[in-house]
Structure formats: C-alpha cells, structure tokens
C-alpha cells in the first residue's frame, strides 16, 4: 500500500503525506477548462453527427412529411403523438408489449447467462479461450444473418422440425404460432446478444482483486460467499454497464426480427423498432416515424438513467474495494 492509502485508512495526516498545496482559484478554473478540453474532440464529433441529426428528427416528429427533399414538411403539432397513444388501427400498442417483453425478459436472462459463463471462463487456459470464442461468435454474425439462420433451423420445414417430425411425428410451431414465435424470437435474441455482456463481465472480472478473493478463501469462505462479498460488489460498475447496454440493445431489436419472422405471423413479433423502420418509414410517414423514434429514445433514457442512478452507491463502493 502506498503512503496515501495509509493516510486515508489512518484517518489522520501522517508526516509522510505529500499532497500539493491547494492551487489558487484561477488556476483551478483553468484546470477545469483543461478538463473540458479533453472532452472537446469527442463532443464535436458527437454533437455534429449525432445530436444535430436527432434535433432534426425531433422537429420532424411534429410534422407530416414524406421524406422527399423537394416536398417540404407540414407542421401538424402533436398529431403524430396523438395517433401513437390513441392507436386507432390498433397496431402500435402490441408492438410496445412485444418490445417490453423482449427488453425485460431478455436483459435478465442475458445478464444471468453472461455472468455465469464469465465466472466459468475467466481463467486463462486454451479451453477457456475456445469457450469464449464459441460463446461470443453469435454476436459476430450480423443480426440479420442470425435471424435468417434460425429461421432456416426452426421453420416448419426447417432442420429441427425435420428431426422432430422424424422421431415424434408432429412438429413444433416455433415460428407459426404467434405466442411461441415471440418466445422463439426472445430466445434467438438472447443467443445472439449475451456474448457482448460476457466480454464485459470478463473484462470486469480482471479488475477484481485476486488477492482479496484468495484472502477470503483462506479465511474459510465458500466459493459462493467469496462471490457475494468480494467479487460481486467489486463488479458493480460492470454490472451496471452490462445491464444498461443489454437493455438498450434489446429495445432496438429490429434486424433479427426481419430475418427470423419479418414481424409475423400476423403482427406477433413486431417490435417497436420494426414499427418505426419497416412500417412508418417504409410508407414514407417520416413524421410519424420520428415521433415513434422520439418516444423510443425517451423511454430508453428514462430506463437507463434510472438504473444508473439506482446503482450509483454500489458503483462508488466498487472503487473503494479495489
């Protein structure tokens, strides 16, 4: 432990402490400005190429517009939003439910599976290397391909049903029954997604102090206890990040829907992103699409910020442990 740590733990200044004197106020403002400068390049790129375009999207959400440059948007105020909430053709609310199911069930399962596998695969070994590649590779395939492959596997005349029919005589309606199709979609999304969170947890496990874990085990703690009291708290920020990123990915689920079911059967697997991109945009209803997109962004923001706020104490605790 360094001199500074000793000072902190001791709770009193030791003569060995060597903190520099507090700089004058103008210097501190200068330092803040320098801090800001470090964020500038990222800010410029981000604001220019993401924030400003989003501003456009927000503007369009209050207009009726068909997206063709020579035909200008027509201001309609809250009409698009009203249509979303009233849903006169009863098409949008089901997409909300589908997306909610995917996001909630999906994030829970993804994180549980990813964490479990990260724990099993964290040590360095040839087997673990291969294992990690195998668990991650689904994410390497683009979501569209994933949907397509699983459709070939699970379709009524696909590979799996071919086997099942040969042995049992009937088939499982993975993609033809609306309820089963939704579960199939969730399963496929989880399959393709958890590799990301797995990688995040493995990286996070690297920073958990091995010495602390070893010390706890020597003191007689079981593996479960070590996990609960040493590993898990130290992993706190990683968990927050993993949870938020998985949630956001799942909220935007779209490509995989295209490949797997194209929203079918009927509208059983239409997600909110599908509604935006494959229905509203495809029909050149740009204003409506933007309104739907704005709602998606707002919901994502609320969920993420809530999660991060709730986790703040746990995250701060993690740094103290390391």
């Amino acid at each position: 432990m360094t001199a500074v740590d000793t000072a902190r733990v001791g709770g009193h200044r030791s003569p060995a402490r060597r903190t520099p004197p507090r700089p004058p106020r103008w210097r501190r403002i200068g330092e803040q400005a320098l801090n800001g400068a470090f964020t500038l390049p990222a800010l410029i790129i981000y604001v220019g190429l993401m924030v400003i375009p989003v501003g456009y999207a927000v503007y369009y959400s209050f207009t009726e517009y068909n997206g063709i440059p020579s035909q200008s948007p027509e201001w309609v105020g809250l009409d698009n939003y009203t249509r979303i909430f009233a849903d006169p053709a009863s098409e949008m609310h089901s997409s909300l439910l589908v997306t909610a199911a995917i996001a909630i069930i999906g994030s829970l399962v993804v994180n549980a599976v990813a964490l479990a596998l990260a724990l099993l695969l964290q040590k360095k070994s040839r087997f673990n290397t291969v294992g990690r590649v195998v668990m991650f590779y689904p994410h390497v395939l683009s979501a569209l391909i994933v949907g397509f492959l699983w459709q070939a596997l699970l379709g009524p005349h696909g590979a799996i049903n071919g086997l099942i029919e040969a042995s049992v005589g009937s088939t499982i309606p993975f993609l033809s029954d609306p309820n089963v199709a939704l579960w199939t979609l969730i399963g496929v999304i989880i399959w393709a997604q958890f590799g990301v969170q797995l990688v995040l947890y493995i990286a996070g496990l690297q920073t958990v102090s091995a010495e602390l874990q070893e010390a706890a085990r020597i003191d007689g703690a079981t593996r479960v206890q070590v996990f609960r009291h040493v590993t898990w708290p130290a992993l706190a920020p990683t968990f927050t990040i993993a949870l938020v990123t998985s949630l956001l990915s799942l909220l935007k689920a779209y490509d995989v829907v295209l490949g797997l079911t194209n929203g079918g059967p009927g509208d059983a697997t239409q997600t909110w992103a599908y509604e935006i991109l494959a229905v509203s945009f495809a029909n050149n209803r740009v204003g409506l699409a933007c309104a739907q997109a704005v709602l998606l962004i707002v919901v994502a923001a609320i969920l993420s910020f809530s999660i991060m706020a709730l986790r703040r104490r746990a995250d701060a605790g993690a740094e103290a442990i390391s």
Partner: protein, 280 residues
C-alpha cells in the same frame, strides 16, 4: 481439496462443452450449406454428403460479386481500423476526465454522451448526410469514418469511464505529484491499464463497422470506388432469394474475416496487467 477441485473442473468442462456444441449448430449449418446443392440444403439440413459436396458455389460467390473481393476486404478493414482509432482516441481522454473529476458537471456530460446509445443509428442517417454536406465531407471516406465513429463514441466512452472508475487513483495521483502533465498521465499510465476494455471496445466497434452496409452505401454513394464487403454480400443476398446456393456461400464469405479478427483480439482482453500489478 485437490480432488474436489478436479471433479468440479471436470464438470465445468463437460457442461461447457455440451453448451458449446449446441451453440455451434447454426454455424455448422451455415458452413456445410455453403458446400451443398439446393436440394441437399432443403432436404438433408444437418449432414454433408461427400458425394454431392462441392466448392463450386463458394467459388461462384467469390467470383460473382461484381467487384474485387480482396479490395473490399481491405477497404472494410481500413474502415474498421480507422473508426476504432478515432473513437478510441477521442474517448480515452474524455472518459478519464469524466471518471476522475467529481462534481455534477461532468456527470451531466457523461449522461449527455450516454444518451447517444438510445438512438438507433438508422434513424439519423439522412440528417447526418445533411450535416456532412454542409461541411463538405459528404461522399468522402473521412466523412464516413467520422459518422461511424460518432455512433461508436457513446458506448465506448461509457464503458471506458466505468472501467477507469474501477482503477484506483493512486497511480495517476502519484504520477501527477511527480510532475507529469495530465496528457502524459492519461496515455502513459492509465491507457496501458485499460487494455482489456480497449480490446473489448475494439472488438465490439469492429463488429458494428463490419456489419454496417447502409452507412457506407449512402454516404459514399452508389458509384463509390471502394465498397465494403458486407455491402457487396448483401447486394447478392438482397434479392432475398431462396436460392440458398448463393446465400450460404456468400454469408460464409462475409463472416469469416470478422470471426478471425475476433479470435485474434480476444486474447488481449485477457492480457494486460492482471489486477495484482494494479494494486502494486
């Protein structure tokens, strides 16, 4: 003690192996179907019949894309590297400042960046073209790189700042006491410690760059000299034919390089200083 360790390890290996094999089934099917004629693909999905197996479809896919395949692989690789360099280079300093500076201001800045992750990139693609046009970067490779990096910055910054917060301040504080400038501290002390998370960011960003076939097409324009491999591949598949003899070899061509990149990079997530060195 040792015996239970070994049996529990054996169980671990066995369970993971079963899971691993199950995970590989779709890839297995993709690979073998690249070598089968249409009838075999439809009627005997899980087996490869040596009598009818052929590389002709794979060769056809390699040759039939109407642009030089090697050129596209290289161009896509260039994009992947360039976008990663840009997004990582700007994210590390920003994440450091956000993670280390207490107070509300930088907390808000972080939230501001994180909000970018809520935005589906497809939705902002066309207004972005407008911005690029305004600064004269529309239709250029730098413009494309900047846009793709912009979509990567929120996530990269988010995971970087979280990771840096897990690193103890002692090392950088010690260095600063010794008189190092902030910039030096960031790049010579903190960055080397970030190897696992940088590798993670590299891999994930590389994937989104590799699989993105929309932005290059729209920003570079249909008459562009260089095309990404995924663009070409999707052009072949975009008819969405049920001609699987074309689809599967094409898909195989598309995923192999990125799979290889991942296998190579994942080692770096493990190397990098183990926590022991960090605690010093």
């Amino acid at each position: 003690m040792n015996k239970t360790r070994r049996t529990s390890n054996a169980i671990r290996v066995a369970a993971l192996s079963v899971l691993g094999i199950a995970m590989l089934v779709p890839l297995y099917i993709l690979v073998i179907n690249a070598f089968k004629p249409q009838q075999d693909i439809l009627l005997s999905p899980l087996t490869l019949d040596p009598a009818t197996a052929t590389t002709e479809f794979l060769e056809a896919a390699w040759n039939s894309t109407q642009f030089p395949v090697i050129d596209s692989y290289l161009f896509t690789l260039l994009l992947v590297v360039a976008c990663n360099v840009v997004s990582i280079a700007v994210s590390v300093p920003a994440a450091y400042v956000i993670a280390r500076t207490p107070g509300l201001v930088f907390g808000i800045v972080l939230m501001f960046f994180v909000a970018g992750m809520f935005i589906p990139a497809q939705i902002i693609l066309v207004p972005t073209i407008f911005v690029l046009k305004a600064v004269g970067l529309m239709g250029t490779i730098p413009g494309l790189v900047l846009f793709m990096s912009a979509t990567m910055i929120p996530f990269t910054l988010f995971i970087f700042s979280g990771y840096i917060r897990m690193l103890p301040r002692t090392l950088d504080e010690a260095a600063m006491i010794d008189g190092a400038s902030r910039l030096r501290v960031i790049w010579t002390i903190v960055f080397p410690l970030m190897k696992p998370i940088v590798a993670t960011a590299f891999v994930l960003n590389a994937l989104s760059a590799w699989n993105d076939f929309v932005s290059p097409q729209l920003i570079l324009g249909p008459g562009a000299e260089h095309k990404t491999i995924t663009t070409g591949v999707y052009a072949a598949v975009s008819s969405y034919s049920t001609n699987y003899e074309v689809v599967f070899p094409t898909l195989l061509l598309a995923i192999t390089p990125i799979l290889v990149i991942f296998v190579i990079m994942q080692r770096f997530i493990m190397t990098g200083l183990a926590s022991g060195a960090v605690k010093g």
